[in-house]
């Protein structure tokens, strides 16, 4: 079975935020919630690099381990989904996640957390019918069921953000690395601009 993963090639990402826009649009992500974000390190300095990050769909996911209602499930494709009917909005998954992926709508009184929301790998929800209106409204689109990959990666203009079976995307990435050569001085920032 395939194991779906994301991989962002930091040498290619140009911080255009196209993936963010694609995600927001495709999944009707509400205001204030960001399933994906682009982080730029050393912004404006030599060695600047950007990375697009969302839920990494961890194997043996930490969020899953701490959820008091055990509402996470991993699909046979390796996508980590959570059931919003069961979620009680305790925030534990947000404490445990190393990537800051779980998000919470804060429209209740005193900022009490609503149901957790995170990247679904464009695979809808665990309990809703594939591609149903309910699923779209609750979790966003289910492109995986249509045989398509997450829109963020599909839209990425520089093909920095890769999505797909982990074996295949790591092959693609390895091929890139080999072509660039193992030495950092022959590619990347320093070869293009000097230090």
């Amino acid at each position: 079975m395939a194991r779906m993963k994301f991989l962002c090639d930091a040498e290619r990402c140009i911080e255009c935020n196209g993936c963010i826009t694609a995600c927001k649009n495709e999944n009707d992500v509400p205001w204030g919630i960001n399933r994906r974000r682009v982080v730029t390190l050393k912004d404006g300095e030599p060695g600047e690099k950007s990375i697009s990050v969302a839920c990494m769909h961890c194997t043996d996911a930490p969020c899953q381990a701490v959820c008091p209602v055990d509402c996470f499930s991993t699909t046979p494709d390796g996508v980590v989904l959570h059931n919003k009917d069961m979620c009680i909005g305790c925030g534990y998954c947000f404490y445990a996640c190393p990537f800051g992926a779980p998000q919470f709508p804060q429209n209740e009184a005193f900022g009490v957390r609503g149901k957790m929301d995170k990247c679904t790998y464009c695979a809808g929800g665990p309990e809703t019918a594939d591609g149903s209106a309910e699923e779209q409204q609750k979790y966003g689109s289910n492109r995986l069921a249509e045989g398509k990959l997450p829109l963020c990666a599909e839209m990425c203009a520089t093909k920095a953000l890769l999505a797909g079976d982990s074996d295949q995307i790591s092959q693609t990435y390895t091929a890139r690395i080999l072509q660039r050569g193992g030495r950092p001085q022959t590619w990347g920032w320093s070869s293009a601009y000097g230090e």
């Binding site: 069961m86 990537f99 998000q103």
Partner: protein
Amino acid sequence: MLNSDTKTAVSEVNRRRKRNRRIMWTFVAMWLMVVLAPIPGYFMTTETVQAKGEFTENPRSNYWGEVRNAASGYTTDRGLEAGILVDDAGENWRVLRNDTILPYGAWLLAFVIVAIGAYFMFAGPMKIEGKLSGIKIKRWNLYDICIHWIVAVTFFVMSISGLILLYGRAVLIPLFGREGFAGLAMLCKDVHNLLGIPFSVALLMMILPWLKDNVFRSEDAEWLSQAGGMFGGKHPSSGKNNAGEKMWFWLLTIGGTVLVVSGFVLVMPNLEQLRGTMITMHILHSVSGLILIAVSIGHSYMGSVGIEGAFDGMVSGEVDAVWAKQHHDLWYSDKMLKK
């Protein structure tokens, strides 16, 4: 003839010995060469690297090392700490909660229950010595009684709901299934969050007026050294509150403050507190909660079946003179003197 034969034999032995020694030294020399031969290489490599000033460290690996250690960058995401790509803090929290607090908390509660059960079976309740006198002495006024029971009931409900949130996944999901349990958990979360407010207020209103009766005094050391007469012997002297009650009071004051403060930090995530703060508060909250629950089981036992006559005191506010003399003799003589 014989002599020359012996001579040849001796020289033969010597020759063999010499050869063996030579072989041995050859091996030693070979071994030394194998071990030492690469060493000049090390010197040379270090020299060249130092000369060029390159490859002494790997800049790319340092770069990603910083990212791995929660370095923060720029992002358009307005969320708190959104600039951090990887943060391990939650990993430690997960291990502390799932592998330390959960099992040790369960052991603690089990130990307390078993210990109390064993004590009850072997020593039985502390009976009133002699006949009741029928003379009533006021121990608690109406305010004390009300505030005690408000704190007690809210504490009880919050303990149960907190324990369900902590242990429900392990204990209740196998019984009710995930869907069934989720409804209960949601209810527990809401009840736990809302009751926190009356509990905090009532706790404060209970601690303040009771403070002066819970200051430790000279007789308390004696009381403690005899464990309050729990294991036989003469009942040690005590004022209005004995040393056990005082310890429970101070534990509740300190633990309760930790619980209330950490609870408020956790319940209002919109105060811009960072994840690290919330994680710390969660650990403090669960540890102090579990300790207080464990001790409160002991307190409930003493106040109900453990000590005959104690429960009536917290219901009617009055205790019998005989009970007072038995359990709180100093307070009893005080009261008698005043009368």
